[in-house]
Amino acid sequence: MGRTFTLTQTDQNIVNAYDYLGMLVGLLRLPGEKNTDYRKRLWDVYVHRASASQTGLINGITRELGLKPYNAITITYNGPTTLSPRVVVTDTLVYLYSNWTLIDESIDANVLYGEAIDIFTEGGDAYYLGGLVETINNIDPSAAYFIASIENGVDEFAPSASIFGQDSRIWVDSEQLKQVHRNKLAHTNIVPGSVTFPPASASTYTNHRATENDVITDGDYYIDYTNGIIYSYLAAPTNAFCRYMYDTIPITLQASPVILHEFGSTEVQDKIFECVLQADGTYVGALPTSTAIDYINELLATHKMYWGE
């Protein structure tokens, strides 16, 4: 017997049919990636499209890295049913509206529930997902309009800023209507007052009635907002479309392991630059904040570059 060597293995990819499919869609195999995982990423190319939008960039970058956006927290609405709530996540803030109306003139402004929650500032109450959930649940514990809960298996110490821009209300710009009297829309929980029709079908949808039974003459129509159904006295004309907004509360907010912020957004600029008062009374973002300095150091550590020249 000769000498014995104790050695460790390295993995080496072997090109097979999946790599050819990957080349077609521009997604290469990661080192050591098995067919099963690679196939999942290849499927994803046509489902979560990569583009230059924030969502598109997140889709593209996470997929390239073998990561995946995931469901982070769920926010349910528990307040009065007469109100029309909305949840909006922007770059650095979470807005909870207890009432957001489109046409009701009796309410002069949209009502914010508590204050906008800062999810960006390090050391803030809502910097981590766990803190964000607590912050939402502590806004007004007696009323408890909004109740947040963290999803199963999600790390409560993941930064809240990993939740990317989302809105509980989603616009459908153009949905074709069939030439029938009862049109079922693709979505339910339509936001009252959001449904509009192009001029071509105005004669069919002239008078919005309070109930289905009131639809008795030409031009009458009624919308069942909860179930997403439009009843009209006349059948919808050829090529009729409608535009509407629907509601997705209770909403599950998605988070991405890759955090993207829009540098041009004033919200982000407020956080990473200290505002300096100019002689003319306006403010300008000038000196980087400690958060920005962290980013700059991180960038300098990986790549030699000059900042500010």
């Binding site: 017997m1 000769g2 000498r3 014995t4 060597f5 104790t6 050695l7 460790t8 293995q9 390295t10 993995d11 080496q12 990819n13 072997i14 097979n16 049919a17 999946y18 050819y20 499919l21 195999r29 050591g32 990636e33 098995k34 067919n35 099963t36 690679y38 196939r39 290849l42 499927w43 994803d44 046509y46 489902v47 979560h48 199963n152 298996g153």
Partner: protein, 569 residues
């Protein structure tokens, strides 16, 4: 064990109608054609597999993707020896992988096929992943189906749809002539899709799509609505496995659509498991609407390990290889998909144009079945003096039989034709003067090929001999793997859409297991599916570049230099 190709009969079908090669599945001609047909079949399957690999959903995931490489140091020395051609060759070094406290000695092979494509798994481990294995839609009457909200699917995979109690399978709208179910929901690709499943009979049907969320199940044409039920299951345990789901190899118009099924047979020592080939379709899909509602066993094969019977709880067919995986309480057995073939030894003694022909309406048997063999006098031109039955058993011993099928001496077995002078039919004449067949009933107690022989002596002293081989099927497992304790006492076996193996651990297993509370479902009531990982310990050595390729990942690998056998000691 030989492979009987599905193409053999198709090639034989090109012969004239009346030939034995066309009529008898076990004729000499088909036996001769079979190797050629097998070669063509291999090419055909290879072509189809290659074509499927150009589609993301249909390709084989078990193709070589990542190999594990060890680069030996430059001073590593391979021993040498003289090979059978008296050339100097290198001795493979000792390779020992160390994983989870175990030493594994991978088999060193010479080519990629043995290394990956054809290599048999050598180890099975539990990955720790477990999923709820109950129903997505509980058993529901058809007329109540609309109101049902399906449960969550715990692991995206092909679902098993079970239809029972229906009597009519014709869709009145006739858009699809037979009844169907429509599933809608979200597939694994996160796309909202629908799938139509034709339901020609009461049974279990696998979906083609891999479902992640099921929204609803609708039915069309199934009757009666207040008796028939539908159930959808998370995993496909304990069901018939289709041989050819996509009908790539077997066309439904000409040949029987076959399923693999686990059977149980009882003989002498007790129950044992068999591999059944089961048919549903008579001749065409259209005939099914006439109301077939049961499966018919075409062929049954006794399953063996080391010559002994085994008892299995479920079988599953490995995608692409077609290998049959069988689960017992302690072991996982692997079988080739092929049926065993009869041996045709001594068949040269058969007279090709024999007047007396031995026939049977069945050629495939299991141990313990009784063969009913007949002899027909086909050409009544010569007068028979006497004839004699004998049977050559699988071990080669020859036994002589009288007309009652009882063992007698070689001389006592001759049956004389007392009426030969009148050119009468002798042994073939019944009391009322009609021609009859001689029928011998014989109990088949051994595995292998029995040859039934009829010898005839004519009045002019010429002799003839006809031989019919009948086969008692059995097949040996090509591998047996010991199940880790977490996977023992399983009740079902299935492959998921990622070609991973899952074992059903039902209620009250003897080994405790941790049940996660995710999905909020009571695992204790419905059972849990546990994922198993199959490892194939093979290695290849590149002597020139001093590289060792390994199929599996080990914590560390010891490689030891071998002695040089050319050095004088």
């Amino acid at each position: 064990m030989a492979h009987r190709s599905f193409l053999t009969q198709r090639i034989a079908n090109r012969l004239p109608d009346w030939t034995d090669g066309r009529l008898l599945p076990h004729s000499l001609l088909q036996q001769w054609v079979n190797p050629t047909a097998s070669e063509i079949e291999d090419l055909y399957k290879y072509l189809i597999t290659e074509t499927r690999c150009s589609f993301l959903t249909a390709g084989n995931l078990d193709t070589m993707d990542v190999v594990n490489v060890i680069r030996l140091s430059n001073d590593f020395v391979f021993g040498r020896y003289l090979n059978h051609l008296h050339n100097e060759a290198y001795v493979v070094p000792y390779i020992c992988g160390y994983i989870n406290g175990r030493d594994i000695w991978p088999t060193v092979v010479n080519n990629v096929d043995d290394f990956w494509n054809d290599a048999l798994p050598t180890r099975i481990t539990a990955t720790g992943r477990q999923r709820y294995a109950g129903s997505v839609v509980d058993e529901t009457l058809l007329n109540a189906l609309e109101a049902v909200t399906p449960n969550s699917i715990t692991h995206p995979t092909r679902l098993a749809v079970i239809v029972s109690g229906c009597a009519d399978f014709t869709d009145v709208t006739r858009r699809i002539p037979i009844s169907y179910l429509v599933l809608s929901g979200t597939t694994e690709r996160d796309l909202e899709e629908t799938e139509v499943i034709r339901i020609p009979y009461n049974g279990t049907f696998l979906t083609n799509k891999i479902w992640k969320v099921l929204d609803k199940v609708e039915y069309y044409g199934l009757q009666p609505e207040d008796v028939g039920t539908v159930q959808v299951n998370n995993f496909a345990f304990n069901i018939e496995r289709e041989v050819d789901k996509y009908q790539l190899f077997i066309t439904p118009d000409y040949e029987k659509l076959l399923y693999h099924k686990l059977g149980t047979y009882t003989f002498e020592e007790g129950d044992f498991s068999t591999h059944q080939h089961v048919t549903m379709v008579g001749s065409s899909v259209g005939e099914l609407s006439a109301g077939h509602d049961s499966l018919e066993v075409v062929r049954e094969i006794e399953l063996l390990y080391n010559g002994s019977n085994i008892q299995l709880v479920d079988i599953a067919v490995q995608p692409f290889t077609g290998r049959i995986f069988g689960l017992s309480s302690q072991y996982l057995y692997i079988f080739d998909p092929y049926t065993s073939m009869p041996t045709f030894k001594n068949m040269q003694d058969k007279d090709p144009g024999s007047s007396l022909v031995v026939e049977s309406d069945k050629y495939d048997f299991v141990r313990g079945e009784t063969a009913s063999v007949t002899v027909t006098w086909r050409r009544q031109l010569k007068r028979i003096l006497k004839n004699r039955w004998s049977v050559c058993k699988p071990d080669g011993t020859i036994i002589y039989l009288n007309i009652l099928g009882e063992e007698v001496s070689a001389t006592a077995a001759w049956q004389a034709n007392s009426l030969y002078t009148e050119l009468a039919f002798g042994p073939f004449e019944t009391d009322d003067g009609k021609i009859d067949k001689q029928v011998i009933n014989y109990l088949l107690t051994e595995r292998g090929t029995y040859q039934f022989i009829v010898e005839t002596v004519f009045v002019d002293s010429s002799t003839e001999k006809d031989i019919l081989p009948l086969h008692v099927h059995s097949k040996e497992a090509v591998a047996r793997l010991i199940l880790p304790i977490q996977l023992q006492d399983g009740e079902g076996l299935a492959f998921d859409a990622d070609q991973k193996l899952w074992i059903l651990r039902a209620v009250g297993g003897s080994n405790p297991y941790d049940v996660p509370s995710e999905y909020g479902i009571e695992y204790d009531i419905y059972g849990v599916a546990m994922e198993a990982s199959l490892a194939t310990d093979t290695a290849m050595v590149d002597f020139r570049n001093k590289i060792v390729y390994l199929h599996e990942v080990y914590d560390s690998v010891d490689i030891t230099e071998t002695d040089d056998w050319l050095v004088e000691r």
